[in-house]
Amino acid sequence: MFLLSALGIAAAQQPVVLVVTADAPDYVLAAGGTIAGMAATGAAVHLVRVTNDEKDSWKLSPEETIRRATEESLAAAKILGVRDVHALGYRGYDLGGVSFTEIRDRLIFLIRHYKPTVMFIPNPYTEFDRVVDRFYTGRAAEDAWRAAALENYQPPYADAGMRPHLTPELYYYAQPHDPYRREPESTATFVPQPKFVDIAAQLDRKIRAAQAFSTSNENMARRLAERLASTGRTLPLLATVNDGSIAKLVEENVRGLAAVNAKETPHRAAEEFRYAGVEFRIPRKYRSAR
């Protein structure tokens, strides 16, 4: 207990959660149920949205896409119980051209400001995810998590009254693309471990939050319908693409994700993470019982 309190973790404290997402819907699809569950039990949840999602639409200008994505990300956040959304405003799918340290240092600012006890970040080690923005964001967020605790990073922030801050719990999230995502690469002392969260009680909320992204959902549905049509196939649900069929497709997607993640677990609906908790930072043998 001594070590834990020395690290500023008070057992009774309500969690403060900082979520970092590359594109607005990413965190909802991969971690929305878990985050909604934390919010429902009193956690203060803050969201950092790194890109502006400007390209994720069907036949809309970037300007209109940005406007809608902003509104929709606020609506989704509200459904999950997220308190506020900080948009960093980088152009969607273009993070390969943005300085790693620039993204990292802006995240350090927000970490030192909110002093989270839990962070959710995209997993930069997941394999075979074609949206490389998630990799760039995850890498910068992981380093921000580390460097936010070190006083020699960003001395000007200290001048502005912000102290180094160590976030004790870290969740790496990703959609289940990686067939090896459940394989621990090493012990928890060095490497985050697979962790499964039961989200059955939050599944409906997660579905509604995912459905709030009407603009990107329409893009997904129309692209899928177009691909099927151009190859002589059809999905009966998308025979007519409208608000109703898009919402149903999104529901199938969220239920499908929950089922994939729950496979071989005791849960009916789940989310999977790589989790770095106290075991990751302080090996058991160095921790004392109270």
Binding site: L29, E54, K55, S57, W58, K59, L60, S61, P62, T65, Y93, D94, G96, G97, E127, F128, R130, V131, V132, Q175, P176, H177, P179, Y180, R181, R182, E183, P184, P194, F196, M220, R223, L224, R227, L228, T231, G232, R233, T234, L235, P236, L237, L249, E252, N253, V254, R255, G256, L257, A258, A259, V260, E264, T265, P266
Partner: protein
């Protein structure tokens, strides 16, 4: 058993129940685009020469985008290496049956600090022009990939592959009549002798003729492979042990070097074949058309109908 132990057992095999890598037929389509940094990446031992030959044999037009200028590869100094390697790349591409070599000429082995979006945008333009159904290149998620060009071109390819299909990406291309076009399939290659490399999920069967073309294409890169000096070095090393290779008697070092490369290529093609229960193969990490929607896989498999 705690669930986590169960996962360990379940997560390991990508292979089918009999422990073999599944053989995947080529997807239906007309055009494939090979996108890689170097003149020789498509002919080296760990792919993709056999796959390219098979795409050609099955009626595809195959284009090869060479992102770097290959100035570091070979003994002639930068400008001459560039010229010789380009010429040999064109010859090797012809052996495999490819239509064209398109050189982007980024500086060889200096691709780590390049502006990645610029490279990606060049690839997007080419994807919109040539309209590939399939792209083939280095798996950008490969582990222990030491070459910065392989990593970065892989990343640019992994974005360009599908982003070329988005309206709001480089809309100025429409001025040339080029419409958004998405390639739906990706074959990722990786070396499997440097740590984990990648864990392939499919094998592609090759026939003996395709393996032969891959061997010939490989040897065509005389500037860096099938070098008489390598045969001389092997002969000397064997001689120190009082050993010799009977097949090498009465042939020159150049021919011996070619022979050695052929043996190696045959050996590795058989190794990959054995993993899949066939004579010859290459293996890949294959991304199928709807793999980007992991939550809809089962639903689509159940609901999508032929018209």
């Amino acid at each position: 058993m705690r669930p986590i132990l169960l996962f360990l057992l379940l997560a390991l095999p990508v292979a089918s129940a009999d422990g073999k890598l599944p053989l995947k037929p080529l997807p239906k389509g007309k055009v494939a685009m090979v996108i890689q940094p170097h003149h020789d990446d498509h002919t080296t031992d760990y792919g993709m020469g056999g796959l390219i030959a098979r795409f050609v044999d099955e009626g595809y037009d195959v284009y090869y985008v060479r992102a770097s200028n290959d100035e570091k590869d070979g003994p002639h100094g930068y400008p001459r290496n560039d010229m010789v390697n380009y010429r040999e790349a064109v010859a090797a591409a012809k052996v495999l049956g490819m239509k064209k070599v398109i050189s982007l000429n980024w500086r060889n082995d200096y691709m780590n600090p390049i502006p990645l979006n610029e490279l990606r945008n060049q690839i997007i333009l080419l994807i919109r022009k040539y309209k590939p159904d399939v792209v083939i290149g280095h798996n950008p998620w490969e582990h222990y990939q030491k070459n910065p060009d392989h990593r970065n071109v892989g990343r640019a390819m992994a974005e360009a592959w599908w982003m070329a299909g988005l309206d709001n990406v480089l809309p100025e291309h429409k001025l040339l009549g080029m419409e958004p076009h998405q390639a739906w399939y990706l074959y990722g290659k990786a070396r499997l002798d440097w740590g984990l490399g990648q864990r392939p999920n499919i094998a592609v069967e090759l026939n003996a003729e395709q393996v032969r073309r891959k061997q010939t294409a490989y040897e065509t890169h005389r500037n860096v492979y099938a070098n008489p000096a390598s045969a001389r070095a092997y002969k000397a090393a064997l001689a120190r042990e009082n050993l010799h290779v009977p097949e090498w008697e009465n042939i020159d070092d150049q021919t011996a070097a070619v022979m050695m490369e052929e043996w190696h290529m045959d050996w590795i093609s058989r190794q990959r074949g054995a993993q899949a229960g066939v004579r010859y193969a290459e293996d890949y990490y294959f991304l199928d058309e709807f793999d980007y929607l992991p939550g809809l896989q089962d639903y689509l498999a159940r609901e999508v109908k032929r018209r």
